[in-house]
């Protein structure tokens, strides 16, 4: 038989398993998870703010690169975060199984009888006139009435109370386990995407329509519903001081074949459900409908979803103009028109005259300034306004319902008509099958938590002995928690079964048994 210094595979596995099985490991893993989350809250995260991550990488070359490699800019999607979660999951489960078995055994088992009663932290002795059998019966009945679990054998009574503490604790931990499961399954198989829909238009739940604004779970199967969402109208309302009151979208849902299935009102804090998807009001903006023709040929006639400029410090966001682009790749060379929209012309005029920003809370004589570029368009996506490789050949402006013409050298007359100004609504669309599980688990976490913190376990033993003219009653007990409160309860029990008062335990006994 050879003994090697290095542990065998079997021993290593056993060691890992033993470590995982301890509650302390689970707790340490939870704390590591919290520490990881702290990193995620201190550093910008790619899913939330990619531009701030880029900024960080530019500003901190060395640490930025290190952090990037370690996955610190996408903590919650990094492999090690998933690993910690998985280990926590396994560890929690591993230590809960044996605890649950032990708990079930303890609940089934009748309270165990004790032989020596004067060794307990609380004990008392007193004489009664009635016989020992009678006293034991009275004591058992009294303790049962006080909802102790009682085992009565002959002249001895063993009773205990507060198993609910362990039951509650296990319920809490199992519920936490379930919550973790619900989160992993729900987030793993679901997705969250952003849909931008202009009034009158319809969005269909399919991958390309999210235009990259989607995050899918690791195990998402790619099965989009194909359900449609038509924005009937959008309404934003403000107080006189410019503070928003509410954002309301009225939508019509359509099934896969495009048949309407009903209308809903979606507002902030009031999402709507359709075919397993939840639709939330997230944002809004302006969509001017502009018709563009070049040399008499109509090339463009749809709404353009504009993005608002970032407001400098001290300027209300609602005072900023909106920007968008029309990219025409059909003509030779490519033509790009950048648009700057002022929904309220008065704000533009005031800004030109005084330089003071004015909030634009609704449309009033909407006004567009545009520039025309020619050259070769590098990025045909409509969400970006990138003019590299293009040459500005001029620009002009437009009021609503107005038309303006512009001569593009070598391509003919460019004609722009500003037909109308609509609004668009931004919806967050998510699918998460884990939600009911997570909610139920969260409620169970609370249900279990309360007894696990506030119920105390205590045990009481009573033994009656025949004595001249009656019986000698010995009673002992202790509490595992809330020892002060048990002192009074113990006295009440003594009085309840016929004794006058408990004999205080000696101080040194306290030290020994507590």
């Amino acid at each position: 038989m050879t003994t090697s210094a290095a542990p065998t595979l079997r021993q290593s596995v056993a060691l890992v398993w033993r470590t995982l099985r301890s509650m302390r490991t689970a707790l340490i893993l939870l704390l590591i998870l919290a520490a990881a989350a702290v990193i995620g809250s201190l550093l910008p995260q790619i899913p939330n703010s990619p531009e701030r991550v880029g900024q960080y990488l530019d500003d901190h070359e060395f640490w930025g690169t290190m952090f990037f490699r370690a996955g610190f800019f996408d903590v919650y999607g990094s492999w090690w975060f998933v690993l910690i979660t998985a280990l926590l999951f396994v560890s929690l489960g591993a230590c809960l199984f044996p605890r649950t078995r032990a708990m079930i055994r303890a609940v089934r088992q009748r309270p165990i009888h004790a032989r020596e009663l004067d060794g307990f932290r609380h004990h008392a002795e007193f004489r009664v006139d009635s016989g020992p059998d009678e006293v034991a019966v009275i004591a058992a009945r009294y303790l049962r009435r006080k909802r102790f679990r009682v085992s009565h054998e002959g002249l001895g009574v063993a009773a205990e109370k507060g198993v609910l503490r362990e039951v509650g604790s296990l319920l809490f931990h199992w519920a936490f386990f379930l919550l973790l499961l619900g989160v992993i399954v729900g987030k793993g198989t679901g997705f969250t995407g952003r849909a931008v829909v202009t009034e009158g238009e319809t969005f269909v739940d399919a991958l390309p329509n999210y235009a990259g604004q989607i995050r899918t779970g690791r195990y998402f199967g790619g099965d989009f519903t194909g359900a449609g969402l038509q924005l009937l109208d959008f309404d934003d309302s403000y107080r006189p001081n410019g503070q928003p009151i509410d954002f309301v979208s009225r939508v019509r849902f359509l099934d896969r074949e495009g048949r309407p299935t009903g209308t809903e009102v979606i507002r902030v804090n009031h999402p709507a459900d359709v075919e397993g998807l939840r639709v939330f009001q997230e944002g809004f903006g302006w969509s001017p409908v502009v018709e563009v023709s070049l040399a008499g040929q109509r090339l463009w006639s749809t709404a353009i979803e504009m993005a608002r400029d970032d407001a400098p410090e001290g300027v209300p966001a609602t005072a900023m103009p909106w920007r968008g682009a029309i990219k025409l790749t059909a003509p030779q060379p490519d033509v790009m028109i950048t648009l700057e929209l002022w929904p309220d012309f008065r704000a533009f005029a005031n800004f030109q005259l005084t330089g003071e920003p004015t909030s634009m809370l609704g449309q009033f004589d909407p006004y567009i300034r545009y520039s025309v570029y020619t050259g070769e368009i590098v990025d045909p996506a409509l969400s970006t306004i990138d003019t590299t490789g293009l040459r500005r050949i001029g620009g002009s402006d437009l009021h609503a319902a107005g038309t303006s013409t512009f001569d593009v050298p070598g391509a003919g007359e460019l004609r722009l008509s500003f037909l109308e100004l609509r609004q668009y609504s931004v919806f967050l669309i998510s699918r998460d099958v884990g939600i009911p599980v997570v909610l139920a688990a969260a409620i169970l976490v609370l249900v279990g938590l309360i007894p696990s913190l506030y119920v105390s376990r205590r045990k009481v033993w009573i033994r009656a002995e025949a004595a001249p003219g009656g019986a000698l009653v010995k009673i002992g007990g202790f509490a595992l928690q809330r020892k002060d409160a048990f002192e009074e309860e113990f006295d009440r029990i003594v009085r309840g079964i016929g004794g006058r008062e408990a004999v205080e335990a000696q101080p040194e006994e306290r030290v020994r048994t507590s």
Partner: protein, 315 residues
């Protein structure tokens, strides 16, 4: 009637009364005159009353619940910490000497609110306009105020515990060592250590001698934290439900969510440590202090320096 004006006047009155009550409470600690204690109590209660008037008037001025932004949240937190200390620490646990420290916490909370996030009463932004603001925020403030009281008690426990140990060490040098097994182990649970206030013969420690016994502080800290923990758990869950309704996801690792989870985890660690042999006393107390710091980060840093969905500091 100009409610906004009433609210801000009473806000100032509250700070001054709390400050006065704090000075009186500390004077009582130093001088131990019962009359000082009574006076300190009267001023504390007057301060709490002024604080309440300020909160209610704020609600009337804004025509909504008076906890819609950080300024208002701070006002309510200061109130709950003072009232919580009066009811739980003084009323239930019968410890008179903690109130001055709670008042100090409240004065700082109010001063920080007045300095860093003063805002005029105004209606809520749409995302906050939900009945969940009543449920989630009330639970969060209540949990925070209790954690704060627990944190204060724990810090005092650590100070007192150190001075008691020193006193004990000094005492042990004088008294001949017991014959069997040494006197008291350093790692013994605190309720086994002699109580210098209770046992007449114990030497009065020089530093921290004005505080209640370490065992009493430890007990009240544990009770308050054990009371706060389910409330905090509920606040986090209610917040998640609200986030699901308002933002479309129940959990998104927003800085406030992250830090409230971190705080929850640390206090969960504390509760586990309390029931683990060898972790009772100082080690558990240090975890609770870390939890208290995490709570302050959840409360202040997230709103002031970290941009996220909960950045309501500016209204």
């Amino acid at each position: 009637m100009n409610w906004a004006r009433i609210s801000s006047t009473f806000f100032d009155v509250t700070i001054w009364l709390y400050l006065g009550a704090m000075v009186l409470s500390f004077a009582y600690l130093a001088a131990r005159r019962d009359r000082l204690w009574v006076l300190a109590r009267v001023v504390t209660i007057a301060g709490a009353a002024a604080n309440l008037v300020s909160i209610v008037a704020r609600g009337m001025a804004a025509d909504r619940v008076p906890w819609g932004n950080m300024f208002e949240y701070s006002t309510v937190l200061a109130f709950l910490v003072v009232v919580g200390t009066l009811v739980i620490v003084e009323g239930v646990a019968k410890i008179k000497t903690l109130t001055g420290f709670s008042l100090m916490f409240s004065v700082l909370t109010l001063a920080v609110a007045a300095m860093f996030f003063p805002v005029e009463p105004s209606p809520l932004q749409p995302a906050l306009n939900s009945y969940w603001i009543k449920i989630h925020v009330v639970a969060a403030i209540t949990g925070s105020s209790l954690f704060a009281i627990g944190g204060i008690a724990t810090i005092l426990f650590l100070l007192k515990d150190r001075s008691e140990r020193r006193a004990l060490a000094v005492g042990r040098e004088r008294v001949p060592a017991p014959i069997m097994g040494g006197a008291v182990e350093v790692d013994a649970p605190h309720d086994l250590l002699p109580d210098p206030e209770g046992a007449g013969g114990a030497p009065e420690p020089r530093r921290g001698g004005v505080l209640p016994s370490a065992a009493a502080l430890d007990r009240v800290a544990y009770r308050v934290i054990a009371f706060a923990f389910p409330i905090w758990t509920f606040a986090v869950i209610a917040g998640a439900i609200w986030a699901q309704e308002a933002w479309g996801r129940y959990w998104g690792w927003d800085p406030k969510e992250t830090w409230s989870f971190v705080t929850w985890t640390i206090f969960a660690g504390y509760l586990h440590a309390r029931s683990t042999a060898g972790w009772k006393g100082r080690r558990a107390a240090i975890i609770a202090v870390i939890g208290f710091i995490s709570l302050l980060i959840t409360y202040y840093a997230v709103n002031l320096w970290i941009v996220g969905l909960h950045s309501y500091a500016r209204g």
